[in-house]
């Protein structure tokens, strides 16, 4: 079992706020790691630290056995890391296909335009956006924009995919189809970290779960272990609805 990504003691402050403290974990290749925690727990900040948007002040991040702690986001992308954004960031005035081609051209495979266009069409087919390939990205609805984020990330053919709340705002049938998509991505051998609030989904698809609360990693383990973990339940008591969802899993 090779370790794809390894975090050691990662900490990040924003002014007086300790956004992340001493986060440490190893992520083996081919797994899905679920990242959960109450709102404001630092999940997206952890993504931003991992992919170089806000490099951490302390700790080390290793990706494919290279240190990437202080590298820029494009360095991460070129080494084979891709992500989606919680708040979608489409390139509005470019077509859907061109958006996806950017992912293929500038990811770690450095495809040329011709290949990128083919990959874009494949990936758009895969996420179900093929009929909209020639539309401007700005004209998509939110659910479609989430799929576009996913398509862009996949077109890079990354080793590691960071998914930030791809299920939020989707209706139950859309959630089911997105979960199927995530599982099929894993079948392609891509390692995934996913931030998710939809507990049922994240408990079902994840091999392991990591729980953050106020930037502190309060638990890590299999979904079954997490569901029984007292600290986790306690952390979620501030958010009874989520605690309820969590308990329903048992």
């Amino acid at each position: 079992m090779t370790i794809l990504l390894s975090l050691q003691g990662v900490s990040k402050r924003f002014g007086g706020l300790q956004a992340l403290s001493n986060v440490t974990f190893d992520l083996p290749e081919g797994q899905i790691l679920g990242l959960i925690g109450p709102n404001g727990a630092g999940k997206t900040t952890l993504f931003n630290a991992i992919n170089g948007v806000y490099p951490p002040e302390e700790g080390r991040i290793m990706f494919r056995e290279k240190e990437i702690t202080k590298a820029r986001p494009y360095d991460h992308a070129r080494m084979g890391m891709a992500r989606t954004h919680q708040i979608v960031q489409p390139l509005n005035e470019l077509s859907v296909r061109e958006n996806v081609m950017v992912g293929a051209c500038f990811g770690h495979e450095h495809q040329d335009l011709g290949n990128a266009s083919k990959i874009a069409d494949e990936v758009l087919e895969f996420v179900g956006l093929a009929p909209r390939a020639d539309q401007l990205a700005g004209s998509l609805n939110v659910a479609q924009k989430k799929r576009l984020e996913m398509a862009r990330a996949l077109a890079a053919r990354p080793y590691l995919l960071l998914l930030d709340e791809v299920l939020a705002g989707l209706n139950p049938s859309e959630i089911d189809s997105m979960v199927q998509t995530v599982l099929r991505i894993r079948e392609q051998g891509i390692t995934i970290i996913m931030i998710e609030h939809v507990m049922k989904a994240v408990m079902n698809v994840s091999d392991r779960i990591l729980v953050l609360d106020y930037g502190v990693q309060i638990a890590e383990g299999s979904p079954e272990e997490i569901a029984k973990n007292e600290k986790v339940i306690e952390a979620y008591l501030g958010d009874p609805k989520l605690a309820q969802q969590l308990l329903e899993e048992e």
Binding site: R78, A82, F106, H108
Partner: protein
């Protein structure tokens, strides 16, 4: 058919520039040649600016600095060092490219209006500096020795040759614009324009791409500067770095449609044509600036995507031809 698909976006721009180059030859009037030269110069400058403004999304209010700086370097080499016009033009382009590379590494870190302000500052600082720079003749600038025209068979022939070089540079500018627009590098620039942070997350090395875009947008203006001041017979700080000319270039790009190959060409055509009409019209000639201003305001307020952008949005099948 495949070739047509591949190069269809290039056809209209090339036709426009070719028509401009041929028009004075057919009509045989020197006055037409001067008008055509003015438009070709505007085409070359606006198309170059479009690489930075239209493709990369960085608003430069001082782009004329590359025209002035390149022009000065070229004319200096031509008169003081005895270089030929050709090598002087190449050297002017190279000098502007290097200046853009050095500047770009610093000021392209600034975004939005801060970048725009910095470009104004750079232009004004350069103008003031050249004004004090004795090697370039200080406030009086450099005047060409009449003998340089002799190699071309006299001043009249030199003007004729300048016109053809001008047409060549305009063609070069639009080819460059087209190549950038349809390349992988260009796709990276478009991604930066739309959302620089997202582009970086997808692997676009934005600092490097922006700097090269800046360099590419600076080279041809530098060459045009050398040619223009050669034709003009002298260069002085006031003519080399006019801030309002930078803004006129922005207007041309905006008028035709930023981010398209054809847009800046049509914009240059329309703007110079309108100016030509207004300056000579008995009704408008005194207030031509105000009329231009009012028209610009209308465009900014009501069709901000420019003519080509507007057409592309309204008539999607035209998108391929109107690249």
């Amino acid at each position: 058919m495949k070739l047509w698909n591949r190069y269809s976006g290039l056809i209209l721009p090339v036709l426009v520039v070719a028509a401009l180059a041929v028009w004075p030859v057919i009509t045989g009037k020197p006055a037409n040649r001067e008008s055509a030269f003015t438009i070709l110069k505007a085409v070359a400058l606006a198309s170059s600016l479009n690489i930075l403004l239209g493709y990369t999304g960085y608003v430069s209010f001082g782009h004329i600095v590359f025209y002035g700086f390149g022009g000065y370097v070229g004319i200096f080499l031509l008169t003081e060092k005895g270089w030929s016009l050709w090598t002087a033009i190449l050297a002017g382009g190279a000098a502007s490219g290097i200046l853009a590379f050095l500047l770009g590494s610093a000021i392209l870190r600034l975004r939005g209006a801060y970048f725009a302000l910095a470009t104004i500052g750079v232009n004004e600082a350069m103008r003031a500096f050249i004004n004090n720079f004795e090697l370039f003749g200080g406030p009086t600038g450099i005047t060409l020795n009449f003998s340089v025209y002799r190699d071309f068979g006299g001043a009249a022939h030199a003007l004729q040759t300048s016109f053809y070089i001008g047409a060549g540079l305009a063609l070069l500018a639009l080819l460059l614009s087209y190549i950038v627009r349809t390349s992988k590098f260009g796709l990276g620039l478009l991604a930066i324009r739309e959302n620089e942070d997202a582009a970086e997350v997808m692997g676009v090395v934005a600092p490097r791409a922006k700097t090269w875009a800046y360099v590419l947008s600076a080279i041809i203006p530098g060459m045009v500067g050398v040619l223009f001041f050669f034709k003009n017979g002298n260069v002085e700080p006031h003519d080399a770095f006019p801030l309002h000319a930078s803004i006129e270039l922005l207007v041309m790009v905006m008028l035709g449609g930023q981010g398209t190959v054809l847009g800046p060409i049509l914009g240059a055509f329309a703007y110079q044509g309108m100016r030509g009409y207004l300056v000579t019209s008995p009704i408008f000639k005194d207030i031509q600036l105000s009329v231009s201003g009012a028209l610009l305001l209308m465009i900014v307020l009501f069709i901000p995507a420019g003519a080509i952008g507007w057409l592309r949005h309204r008539v999607p099948p035209l998108r391929r031809v109107l690249a």
